[in-house]
Symmetry: C2
Subunit: 343 residues, 2 copies
């Protein structure tokens, strides 16, 4: 069958008809690739934590039975899309072929090592063999091929850093990329949450010339960011207590509040602390996956706050390179990542 | 007790300590008002549909017992905040006093008729009497006083239209106000959902000089908008089927997709249709309360779509006047509202 341009992989959907690959029960990973697809020789699958846990517990933890379950799922569905958890993961591999009309034609070449930044739950995958199961790392070594569509995100793995470090940063690379766009020099920026994405956002906001306030419930976490030169001021507070947060933000900003608030917290019910902390006509960017859409929309209305409320899109052009460059520009941030976030 | 500036009404919270009035179990509606508060003589409570249904079913539908239950709740909590449903409603009343440091001092005067645009679930309320219960309209006639904080939104009820028409439009007035900001002349705008907010958004987008495509699952609903001159083109599709929507959007835009997508749908799982329909670096505004935050954030990443994804904030400066003016400027839109959306 002659393949045609298919940026979303719609022709790879086997069933049900008319859905996107992520929503499909079964996709077709067969060769050849289409003119705008990318073919990858897969080396490792980094299986999503929830998915790996379910498989491990389902088969009793034995590596050979985990391997058999992964083979069964991929064999049945044409993708490593856990039918119980609905989640995927990502893969590491080497480019075998770049379709002539793929956006990376001319940039990527055979042999380049890449990580996929779209979920395995939508990535057509064919496995020839599973050669190793690393239970502690939720990683499976494989021989096989995967296909990325023209819209499927990927990043070249850098030669100047360890895979694990690069993957830890790439995992949240959408956040600093949006900060790079949203923050202007001279602004005051509050970053809620001093974890991986919070640290990257602080660094990027400072690079943009902003005054950065880092907030976390852990005194150690925010002190670390301040000591590394990534934050100008710190607030130790529970982000689920908006009134307490507001008081501290007022004190630190002379009552003027913040131009931009970046929510990188990991717990629910932090919407109001974010909304109260931002100025009239300021911007709040929600990266926390625990964000409630209605709490944000109705919460802003309830306190009469006219601010732009942005859903933290996981993708912005150039997000992977920007984030790896942040680690390169900030050796102490890189050291923090190596110490705290690389498993 | 001398009251001080208190824009969020924190000093009105009785318990628990340190929360916002909406999250409080009990608030204090006592007089006098503070220097930045507004005192209202309340005429009617429009009780939230979910709340009214729960009360009605709880007491067996008898108007006198409904009245007693409303009195009980307001007496115990200091606000008409249904403890079972968590929801409130809004009120209509007349200004009795404007605090000298309230933002509307100089604009509002005693006797002005207003509707509150913040929920009764955060509005301190004291009831002297309930004079009528209108079961079919979920409305209760009362004598009493309510207090609005400096951040509490309100709208003057216009003298040139019926209360019911004004309230139907004010209910969704955040949507056209954001459209007025987001849409530029010459752009192509897709509006998902041809209900109340969809109709207002179409009208505002056209007033901004955009080409407007109205989408709904009901052929009659979109045809009505086109016949009224509020949409340039129409799509009849189920917004939960992104591939089908994408095909029709491509056909209508010469493959270029839309600059701005406004999601006013009323059903879940319409995020991907919105995201696939927007151009690279375009804007999607989600007004649907059925929007899933994670479906939007992860969905855009999954298809590599770099677009600004906005939570439809229920408040934007001037939203009430803008929306009432839209009805005045578009007599056929006003007629549609009177025919279809006024109960």
């Amino acid at each position: 069958m002659a393949r045609t341009l298919d940026p979303y992989g719609l022709s790879r959907v086997v069933r049900p008809a008319g859905v996107l690959p992520q929503a499909a029960d079964v996709v077709d990973p067969s060769l050849p690739i289409g003119p705008d697809e990318l073919l990858i020789d897969v080396d490792h699958l980094n299986i999503d934590a929830a998915s790996f846990k379910q498989i491990k517990e389902g088969v009793g933890g034995d590596p050979e039975r985990i391997a058999a379950e992964v083979r069964r799922i991929v064999g049945e569905r044409g993708k490593m899309h856990n039918p119980v958890t609905g989640s995927g993961g990502m893969l590491i591999g080497r480019i075998r072929e770049v379709g002539p009309q793929h956006p990376a034609a001319g940039t990527l070449k055979a042999g380049d090592r890449i990580a996929t930044l779209v979920s395995l739950s939508l990535t057509p995958l064919h496995l020839e063999a599973i050669t190793g199961v690393h239970v502690a790392n939720e990683r499976v070594d494989v021989k096989g091929t995967a296909i990325l569509f023209a819209t499927g995100l990927w990043a070249k793995l850098p030669s100047d850093m360890d895979d694990k470090l690069a993957l830890a940063a790439l995992d949240v690379c959408g956040a600093p990329a949006l900060v790079a766009r949203a923050v202007k020099a001279g602004q005051t920026v509050l970053v809620l949450g001093a974890g991986k994405s919070g640290a990257l956002c602080c660094a990027q906001a400072r690079d943009n010339g902003a005054r950065v306030i880092a907030l976390d419930i852990s005194p150690k976490a925010v002190e670390t960011l301040k000591n590394l030169g990534l934050a100008d001021a710190t607030i130790v507070a529970d982000a689920t207590t908006p009134v307490a947060v507001l008081e501290q933000v007022r004190a630190l900003t002379d009552g003027k509040l913040c131009d931009v608030v970046i929510n990188c917290s990991s717990v629910p019910r932090t919407e109001m602390a974010s909304i109260l902390s931002v100025k009239d006509r300021g911007t709040v960017v929600f990266f926390s996956m625990a964000t409630s859409f209605t709490a944000a929309a109705l919460g802003a209305e309830g306190v009469g706050k006219d601010a732009d409320l942005l859903v933290g899109n996981g993708y912005a052009h150039g997000h992977a390179e920007l984030t790896l460059d942040l680690l390169r520009k900030h050796p102490r941030l890189r050291a923090l990542f190596e110490e705290r976030f690389v498993g």
